[in-house]
Amino acid sequence: MAMPLGLGNSYYLNVLVFVGIHSLITIGLSLLMGYAGQISLGQAAFFGLGAYTSGILSTKFGVSPWLALLAAIFVTGGIAFLIGAPALKLKGHYLAMATLAFGYIVYIIFNQASSFTGGPSGFGQIPRFRLGSFVFKTDVHYYYLVWILVIIALLISLNITHSRVGRALRSIHAGELTANTMGVNTAKYKIQIFVLSAVYASVAGSLYAHFITFLNPSPFGFHFSIVLVTMVVVGGVASVWGAMIGAALLTVLPEYLRAFQDYDILIYGSILLLIMVFLPKGLFVGIFDLVKKRKNR
């Protein structure tokens, strides 16, 4: 991750940019799922809201991409707050259904509000980020930009998990009623972390919009929400490092499996199955445990 130059090939660099963008989302999602114990099947919608807000503001209203990214944070965070306040009163499957429905509604809006979003065929010519006269245009530029933001997101998340708030989130996961009785305002922390996870997804969306410079609804549908949850679970749900490993694996794996042509989905599915059967705590913790076992032998 430190030296992309050694890789030379722009194709791999492009994949690494996507690993970074996906990591941003999964780090936020792992705070929500692994620490607070709440599920979201609508995370792709927040990713899309960030991308579209950023894309529309910069393309149609001439707002600078940086300001558009900031505005997208407020728009997506605000929507997450409005959705989360009622939805987070639900538990388990009901919360999953509510977030799934939300994701679907947003997806329909991307398709239907065509005067803004360009409908199913989307819109292009989204401006790139620039600093003074320097324009972020190559994969190398975006590689550094994305991964600097991933590192910031990671540091923020690690600080949270090691804090009073992180402890409160884990107590909610372990027993919400008990946590409440012991003086934790569980509703407040659930909504805070839900909004934060949406903000992470929004930033990832803005980066995506100004990197690809073209947007259509298809990457922001239900399927991608499921992929994101899978990334978090495969990496290890209770760790932000696991979330990154999961994002990396599930972004890179399909690329390598293309060599198997028609069998790629079959092999992809089998690998996920094997990981969940043999490393149920996810790759991150699972590999640690394996190393420990070997040492003890």
Binding site: R164, S171, T181, L196
Partner: protein, 263 residues
Amino acid sequence: MGPILRIEKLEKSFGGVTAVDGIDFEVNPHQIKALIGPNGAGKTTIFNLISGIYPITSGTIRFKGQKINGLKSYVIAEKGVSRTFQNVQLFENMTVLENVMVGRHCRTRSGLFAAILNSKKTRAEEKRIREYSLEMLSFVGLEAKRDEVASSLVFQQQKLLEFARALATEPELILLDEPVAGLSVPETDEMVQLIYRIREIGITILLVEHDMGMVMEVSEEVVVLNSGQVIAEGTPRQVQNNEAVITAYLGKRETENASYTKS
């Protein structure tokens, strides 16, 4: 100084079932008071109403003269009412120390932004949380277990951990739901000593318990419930000789005899 807890005309029904049916009683500061009664008398329901887990149907619950019914559980904890649970409710995947530190939550302030910035002030507060929690662990005698996962503790230690976590909230009133249920005789004695020590540091205790020997030993006053109503109140000696109490626990003498002759 008035009573620390005053319960007036308290009622709670679940659908058509009235679990608590117009109850009045008071708890005075620094008292050890017990709620007893047969299974289903409404004891645990009353605890859940006081700590805000269920909304009440009617009546009032006052803590230090202030109405607390209708408040959220975490606010009631902030006001100074803490509790333990009948079936131990720990944060099982967290360590012993972390469990107690969650109890310290309502006496500390650092929020999400403070956590993100992790400033000197935040770290200092975190250190105070840790120190206070360690003190509570040593108060109940669990400091050696601090880094173990809560679910790995034996039953008595889990109960002690619940005490430490409740104490970390700095309560003025603590509700103990069957503190010695499932404990051996020597373990019960240890728990009784701990309850006395909690009272000595100025905390008022209201407890629910089925172990009558223990109740009669520690309580200064006993409230006897049956079918959601108070049937007697007084010192342990007074209620032991109360006709209504004997009837509630053992049934009427005539029916008892009748059933004997039958079998």
